[in-house]
């Protein structure tokens, strides 16, 4: 009725001053028959047109004659075009088709957390990695505030959904990073090797990931370096643990970033003694560079990093009651170069290689372990959008890992071990958008491992359905394989790959600046490596399961200047692998973990202050004094961290952080002696953090033409 009145009114109005004009009218709707409000309807090449009303109707006049084109355009719909004479365009019905590649189409979210500039629904923002209290600029530590991860403080690595740290693979610009963590020894935590500010996008998948990525059982961490830099600048950092210097040089189509840093923990340890007896505190010299060049149809990037680190300390030896000397020297080199561009007929080509080289010399008293790893990755992908809603991509991977280890403990003879593993893989995947509300991704990955002479096919599928503008459901499942770790391969090639299957169901609700995610998962492992203590044989008879619930809530809206997120994970998992006597919850899994991260901006003080609180329930450990395997439970883990960034001026920042403010005496687990003492007991020793609290003070100074630029994003 309203429609008729409005149309009639317009008619009268128009007729009063129009003559010899054609009236063009009609209704615009979408494929489901809903009216489209606010679409622009006009005759191409003229100014004659109108916008549609709430009921989708439009009416206008034109003095055009002959053949004209009627065009209807509206955001997120494909442009409608129809040729004809103006008098044909009376009371016409127009159906607009959705542009499936538009911004508001559904995005598959099962298992994946996206952070950074390119993400539509960002779980973490670019600054979050560095401003999360307790993360100290470590990407890995910031990711541990997300659900699905385990807080394994004595390791510092990513343990995802009942998986071992070795089950997560890291990729930079699509290419594998064989040594993503700094070198360390048992029970001394390592850090992620990469400075977070190099990356414009981080995607962390806790399962169900694309067929593009292989040789990972649990999780992939995808880091994308920036495609371009905006300005030239020099950055100087003076920190309680060392110094660093960075510079960005920019030309028309090229740019170069260089960063160097020198870290030495000795002065810090004089001021704040640790629980360890250091002979030589951690010292490292590192440098990295990124070169980018733009071509007419593509972008070429080279990323390279080098670091050398060493330390030396004495620790109590539970077996001898004497202290044991532990020394480590590590050198690491990483090169990654890739080209991304368009070729021929809109085919998108990606190709690149990465090479990682790592040398470690570990000494435990008189025993020396010297090893070298060389890992190479070649990758080429070709993709094309073949229609509005379908994109195909296929590619190949070639991995080669060479590992060599020399063990010497005079007077015993020197023993060497090693392996050379080649792996070839190919994948094909289709992304299909059925409508803006329904999408699926279907892929297959074929892989062949030469050392084990083993081939297999892994299918992966995921889908998402948008319930309404703010809510969506996604699901993912697939099969994943990974070659056994170097600890086994260096001894034998008579084992095969380990396998896992993932099933994930995800619900996501997002409105304004609030985000809720809930996910349930089931993961089944088979072919895990097992061995008997004291026997040289390895087999693939291990198995495991993991199931649980992950919750994530982020709110940047309710309280002005406050951003916070809360994560909770529940996991039920049992694993029979390595030398386990039976299927039990492994030492690195706490059934409940939670974290709360807050950031508050105080304008009057020009400061950002943040608190992070991490909690995990007690983790299992094996007490040989009891007959039951892995029946011990540590006490709960608690950590409250605080940080404060103060802007001295627009280009000078003072930064302060402290971890474990409340000084909880956390215990990660227990070590037991190999033999009984005089009372017939196995003596134990708690595995604890190297220090109860860690203090960090830094001064960050940026020199650039743009006075508003500073290093807040680097902290």
């Amino acid at each position: 009725m309203k429609h008729i009145i409005i149309s009639g009114f317009l008619f009268l109005n128009l007729f009063s001053y129009l003559h010899a004009q054609n009236i063009i009218s009609g209704v615009v709707g979408d494929t489901r028959g809903n009216p489209v409000f606010g679409a622009n309807v006009y005759l191409h090449g003229t100014y004659d047109g109108a916008t549609t009303l709430e009921d989708g109707s439009f009416i206008f006049s034109s003095s055009q004659t002959g053949t004209v084109a009627l065009v209807v355009s509206y955001l997120s719909y494909r442009e409608y075009r129809r040729e004809g004479t103006p008098n044909e365009f009376v009371n016409i019905n127009i159906t607009l088709r959705e542009d499936l590649n538009s911004l508001d189409a559904v995005v598959i979210s099962a298992g994946t957390f996206n952070a950074g500039e390119k993400a539509r629904v960002s779980v973490l923002k670019p600054l979050d990695i560095v401003t999360t209290a307790g993360s100290a600029g470590d990407i890995i530590a910031a990711l541990q505030t997300l659900p699905g991860t385990q807080n394994v403080g004595e390791s510092g690595r990513l343990f995802v959904r009942g998986g071992d740290a070795g089950e997560t693979q890291t990729f930079v610009d699509g290419l594998r990073v064989p040594q993503p963590y700094t070198a360390s020894v048992q029970n001394l935590p390592s850090r992620g090797r990469f400075s977070p500010f190099l990356f414009s996008g981080i995607s962390f998948s806790t399962g169900g990931y694309s067929a593009e990525y292989g040789d990972a059982l649990s999780s992939v961490l995808l880091l994308e370096t920036r495609d371009r830099v905006e300005e030239e600048k020099t950055e100087i950092s003076l920190m309680s643990v060392g110094i660093s210097l960075g510079h960005i040089e920019k030309w028309d189509k090229r740019s170069l970033n260089i960063n160097t840093s020198y870290i030495n923990l000795a002065p810090y340890q004089v001021l704040v003694p640790e629980n360890l007896d250091w002979n030589k505190a951690y010292e490292s010299l590192a440098g990295e560079a990124i070169y980018r060049q733009e071509f007419k149809n593509g972008l070429w990037k080279v990323y390279t990093a080098f670091d050398a680190a060493e330390f030396d300390f004495n620790r109590e030896n539970i077996d001898t009651a004497l202290s044991q000397n532990v020394k480590l020297k590590n050198k690491n080199f990483y090169l990654n170069t890739s080209y991304r561009g368009t070729i021929w007929n809109n085919w998108q080509l990606f190709t690149g290689i990465s090479q990682g080289h790592s040398e470690n010399l570990t000494s435990l008293d008189e025993r020396n372990i010297e090893n070298q790893e060389n890992a190479f990755h070649f990758k080429a992908n070709l993709g094309k959008r073949i229609s509005n809603g379908v994109r195909l991509v296929g590619g190949i991977d070639y991995f080669r890992t060479g590992f060599e280890e020399v063990y010497s403990a005079a007077p015993s003879p020197i023993s060497t071990s090693g392996f050379n593993l080649q792996q070839f893989a190919a994948f094909a995947e289709a992304d299909v958008l059925f409508s803006r509300n329904l999408a699926a991704k279907v892929g297959l990955r074929y892989s062949y491992y030469d050392e084990m002479e083993e081939a297999g096919i892994s299918p992966r599928i995921s889908a998402a359905y948008r319930i309404n503008e703010n809510a969506q459901l996604s699901a993912a499942m697939g099969k994943f394989v990974q070659s056994p770790g170097q600890d086994y391969l260096k001894f034998t090639s008579d084992i095969c790959t380990e396998e896992a299957s993932h099933f994930i169901l995800n619900f996501q609700y997002q409105k304004e600046r609030r985000l809720l995610r809930a996910e349930i998962f089931q993961k089944d492992y088979s072919n895990l490596i097992k061995f008997e203590t004291g026997s040289p044989g390895f087999n693939n008879n291990g198995s495991a399961y993991a199931r649980g619930l992950d919750l994530f809530w982020r709110d940047d809206k309710t309280i002005k200047n406050l951003e916070y997120w809360f994560s909770y994970s529940f996991i039920d998992t049992k694993r029979d692998y390595r030398d386990y006597r039976e299927k039990v919850t492994p030492y690195f899994v706490a059934p409940h973990s939670a974290s709360l991260v807050t950031k508050y901006w105080v304008q009057a003080w020009r400061s950002q202050m943040g608190f992070s609180y991490n909690y995990s329930a007690g983790r299992p450990f094996n007490d040989p004094n009891t007959t039951q395997f892995m029946s011990g439970r540590t006490k709960d883990f608690n950590n409250l961290s605080f940080n404060w960034a103060y802007l001295l001026s627009s280009q000078k920042i003072l930064y302060f952080s402290v971890s474990n403010v409340l000084g909880h005496k956390n215990i990660f687990g227990y070590e037991y002696a190999g033999t009984r003492d005089l009372n017939g007991n196995f003596r134990s020793r708690a595995i604890t953090p190297t220090a109860d609290r860690f203090f960090f003070v830094g001064f960050f100074w940026t020199l650039s033409d743009n006075k508003a630029s500073n290093q807040l994003e680097n902290l």
Partner: protein, 206 residues
Amino acid sequence: MDKLIIILILMVSGIVRGQGNFYDGMNKGMELWKTGQTEEASAIFERIAAAEKESWLPNYYVAMVNTTSAFKEKDFNQLNKYLTRAQSALDKELAKHPNNAELLVLQAMVHTAWIAYDPMSYGASLSGKVSQLYARAEQLSPENPRVVLGKAQFEMGSAQFFGTDLSPICTKLERSIDLFDNFSPESSFHPNWGKNQALESLSNCK
């Protein structure tokens, strides 16, 4: 010869009619915008842009109308709609006129609208771009009052944030007002806005 004259006459009259059309169309758009009918105004400018490929002004106003609306918007979906529309109109013209200072200023405003909506998400990645855009616009057109104003306003935002001295910025604002007084646009549709904003910003300086 006769034929040629007729063709010439037809061409001239065609152009004249075209110009009259352009004038009326643009005027109509401006009027709708002034009376708050931003959707309709944006649609008219879009239609003119589709018909007049040589002029960058219609798309400039598509971007301008939508960016102005975005600054007042609190809802993400709506803001995203405005700024996507503004960006795609700007993309078309910046590809043709990469050295047009007015377009660069407007591009800086589009980024600023994102930063204003959520500084924590967009500040780090876009504020560098904004300063680069103003620096380039200043190089191309140092006497353009909107370049001087936009740059000063952006610097004022960060100076207020960091609590630094505003007086050099106030001097720049005063200079922009002088430039506005002496500015004469190429046509009645060429950008000629900003003096009121400059006066208002200057009043915050004291």
